[in-house]
Every structure is written in C-alpha cells, then in structure tokens.
C-alpha cells in the first residue's frame, strides 16, 4: 500500500503552483496552518498533523513522545473522482527515563480510497477508510479532539478501519441535513496481513488486544438540527474479528450539542456476540467543554465501560485544559483518573502539543 501511495504521489506531479494572472483566476491563498498546501494546477492538496505527547501515568515511566506524524493527500481526478490518502508514521520518537528510543516506529497507511461522485447525494468510496461508528472515530486527529486520551468506547469494541466499499452522502430529511454511511468490509481478503487496530490505545494500556475486522457490514446516520448546533447519530455494525474469531453485532448512539456557554457530547455502544461464552460489551461517555477565556477551554469527561476482554467494568474521569494557541495549534493538559482503570486507561497526567498543518 505504501508503494501504491508513492506511485500516486509521483503521478500527481507535485510542483508548486504558479500564480495565474487575471483577477478571475483562482486566488492562491497564502499558506495557513490547518488548511494544507494547495497546488491548483495539479488540483492537489497536501497537509497533515503531528503531535508531541507527555505521559506520566501509573506504573509506567514518564514519557515524552512524538506519537503521530500524519500526512494527508487529496487529489481531484477529472470531475467525478477524488483520491484521498493518509499515511501515518506512528511512535516516531520517544524519550523515557532519560533515554531516547524509536520504540516500534512504523509507517502505516491509515486511509487510502477513491471517491466517485455519482449523484447529488451519493458518493461511492472504495479502499481503506475509517469505520463509521460514532463521531470520534471519524474525526480523531489529535488537533481536532479535545483531550489527549481517547474514550474507550471509540476503540474497544470495533476496528477503527475498514477496507472495502462504502456509499455515503447527505440528503435533506424534514428540512434538515441527514448524513449517511453504508459500508461493506472484506479485510480478510483485501488486507490479510494487517493486524494493528488496538482495542485499547490509551498510553499505558494493555496493547495486546486487537480487533481487526475479518468481514463487516454496517451503517451510520447523523441528523443535524438547529443550524448544526445539535447532531444526533446512530450506528450499526455486524462483523467478525480475527482474534478471537468471533461474530458480533454492535449498535451505537451519539450526539453533540454546541451551546452559547458550553458544548456537550457523548457516545455509547452496546455489543453482543454470537458466541454464548462471550458477554455483552457496552459503555459510554459524556463530555463537556466550557470556554474559560478566549481560546481556552475546560474539558470534563466521564466514561463507564464494561469490557468482555478483560471482563471488567472501568470508569475513567478526565479534567483537562485545551488551549487553541492559534488556528492549527492546540495545547492540552489533562488529569486522568478513574476506578478499575489501570489496565485499560491508567491514571496520571498527560499533555500534548498538536499541530494541524
């Protein structure tokens, strides 16, 4: 897949765009953080994000790490096709206990797909994409989320990625926008070697559990109201994962509300197994963001999660500060605590500098 991505970049013919003359030509915007670099003649945009994390959590060495260095590439091909890819270098650098290491540095294709714009409200997508469950998994880049930690409910029960085909779009329903996603995954055939989607990816968590899809079908709807200040979503998955080889059904609900004085959001899932010996897995979180000053927010989150592997109930509480230093740069400081959380999301201090470029 990496080779394919490199070939596509080469085909795109990357070179700086020359400012066209005449006032009706595209106006080449000066580069700004968080908007990517656009090459109008190639109809190509390159951007990405990076982060620097600091962790001081129970039973682990204090660590300073560049966890993600991610590159996006978007290219329009003709009038109907669009290519998008995200290549991510993860665990790039880490320093703990006064030693610098590269840990398990790796380059991975997070997303690689083509979109075909068929009709007003229908886009067809082929390739590897993010699994459409909940709002967090679809928009999980560090500069775009409020906390350093990711809620358990957004990773634990399903694979973050799917490979196959998807139909998505926006239609009007009762005078409001309704976004929808329908997909079918065949990772067993299309990505047989991949086994990387961690069930628990909080720093210090048990990283031995994976939940990569073998096959999956599912869908999601997201209904927007109050001029997009309120959105309510529902997701459904029917899938098999590789290890343990098991078939599951998952339903999820989520919402986000943007108010005058605070924001509120939440996600919840409930997963059942076809196997009688695997208990149901369920949980949810509620999160609020309160502006303290211009660009400075206080964030609070409460999460409760009942996992099947390991079979336990976990509570995670987070109080955090989030400061938008300038468009594209976010600073975060977070205190994580909880009950029975040492294995999945251990208590401690976390901080991050995240840049969307």
């Amino acid at each position: 897949m990496i080779a394919a991505w490199l070939v596509l970049i080469a085909l795109a013919g990357i070179c700086p765009a020359r400012a066209a003359s005449g006032d009706a030509a595209w106006q080449t915007q000066p580069y700004q953080l968080g908007q990517g670099l656009y090459f109008p003649q190639q109809r190509l945009r390159i951007g990405g994000y990076a982060n620097l994390h600091y962790y001081d959590v129970r039973d682990h060495r204090t660590t300073l790490a560049v966890n993600d260095l991610s590159l996006f590439l978007t290219k329009d091909i003709g009038t109907r096709w669009k290519l998008f890819t995200e290549v991510e270098a993860s665990n790039v650098l880490a320093a703990n206990g006064g030693q610098s290491t590269r840990r398990d540095a790796d380059i991975d294709v997070e997303r690689l797909y083509v979109d075909y714009l068929t009709h007003q409200g229908i886009t067809l997508r082929f390739g590897k994409f993010l699994t459409p469950v909940g709002q967090w998994n679809l928009i999980h880049a560090d500069p775009l989320v409020w906390t350093v930690s990711r809620p358990l409910v957004t990773t634990a029960a399903f694979s973050e990625h799917a490979t196959g085909a998807m139909m998505l779009g926006t239609v009007t329903f009762l005078h409001h926008d309704l976004d929808y996603w329908l997909f079918a995954d065949d990772s067993k055939s299309l990505e047989p070697a991949r086994n990387r989607d961690l069930a628990y990816d909080a720093f210090g968590a048990d990283s031995s559990l994976r939940n990569n899809f073998q096959h999956a079908v599912g869908g999601r709807v997201l209904y927007h109201m109050l001029d997009d200040r309120l959105s309510v979503g529902a997701s459904y998955l029917d899938y098999a994962i590789r290890q343990p080889n098991q078939r599951y059904r998952l339903v999820g609900l989520d919402f986000s509300w943007s108010g005058e004085h605070f924001n509120l959001s939440g996600e919840g899932i409930h997963r059942t197994s076809a196997g009688a010996d695997v208990p149901a897995e369920y949980g949810g979180f509620l999160q609020t963001e309160i502006p303290l000053a211009q660009r400075l927010y206080l964030v609070g989150r409460y999460e409760h999660y009942r996992s099947s592997i390991p079979p336990q109930s976990t509570t995670v509480r987070i109080v955090a500060l989030n400061f938008h230093l300038q468009p594209g740069i976010v600073l975060k400081l977070e205190r994580r605590d909880g009950a029975n959380n040492t294995r999945l999301s251990p208590s401690g201090w976390l901080a991050a500098v995240a840049v969307l470029f």
Partner: protein, 168 residues
Amino acid sequence: MTHPRPRLLAALILQGTLLLTDSMPALAGETQVAVIVSSRAPRVAFDRAMLRAIYLKKIFIGQNGRRLIPVNLPPGNPLRDAFSHALIDMRDAQLQEYWNRQYFQGISPPYVLGSQKAVVRFVAGTPGAIGYVWPCHVDSSVHAVLMISLPTPVAGPDPEACPANPQP
C-alpha cells in the same frame, strides 16, 4: 432593430429570475444578494437548503450531473460575512471547527476570488461554478438563480456595493 445593452438585459434576466425564484419582495431596509451561475449553464432550480449544502461542501454534483464549484469572496469581505451569516448561520468558531473537521476528511472550503468582478468573470466562464454578488454586478454573462435577503445590515464599508444598497 436595437439590441438591449448588456446591463439592461441582465436587469431583465434578473427581474425574471426574481419572479421565478423569490416571490417575496425585499422589505424596506433589506438588501439582497444575487446567487449566480454561468448564463451558458442549463437553468437549474436552487433553494436555500441546497445552496447551503453546496457552500458547506455536502453536495458536490448538481441536478444536471455537473460538478459544482462554489466560490467565496475573501475572508473579511463585508458581503461574504453577510452572505455566510444569512445562508449558513454558524458562529465563526463553529464554522472554523466545521472546516477543520472536513479537512480531516479531505474536503476543503470553497475557493476564494478577490472581488465580485472576479466572481462574475469566473462564474461566467466555468460551468458548474456558483458565486454571489450584489445585483448591480450581474451582467449578461451570468444569471441569478436565487436572491438571498440579508436580514441584517452589511457590516463595514463595501467598495463594491451597489449605489442603492443601504450602507451603515
């Protein structure tokens, strides 16, 4: 036989479109902005919901199967601010967050052109392009498919405003 001058023709087209698309006349003190497409493009029906979806890049293909290319005026332009407020009705921070999230999914905001004159020229020559200008800038190269009423006065002086538009 004499031919009507382009600006007069534009006014006639505009008047006809007004009758077709917006039966409510502008109220006193209310200003209107014209949403334009190329006069060479097939006439298609627009409503506010569809236009909003186009400017938020939720719709990419028009009813006629053509790729839609919405264009904006530069940030800080009084007409852009008023148009965005009337059509999209999101707070600045909310809209910024919206585009950040879209960017993560490979979708960028509408392209920007430097002036209303540039918008008219670009839209006229680009099938599928959609722009917005004060009605006095509409000429025979484009036609107005929708008139949007701006309920609040346009903030700040606009050097491209039509003489009849009330200025603060």
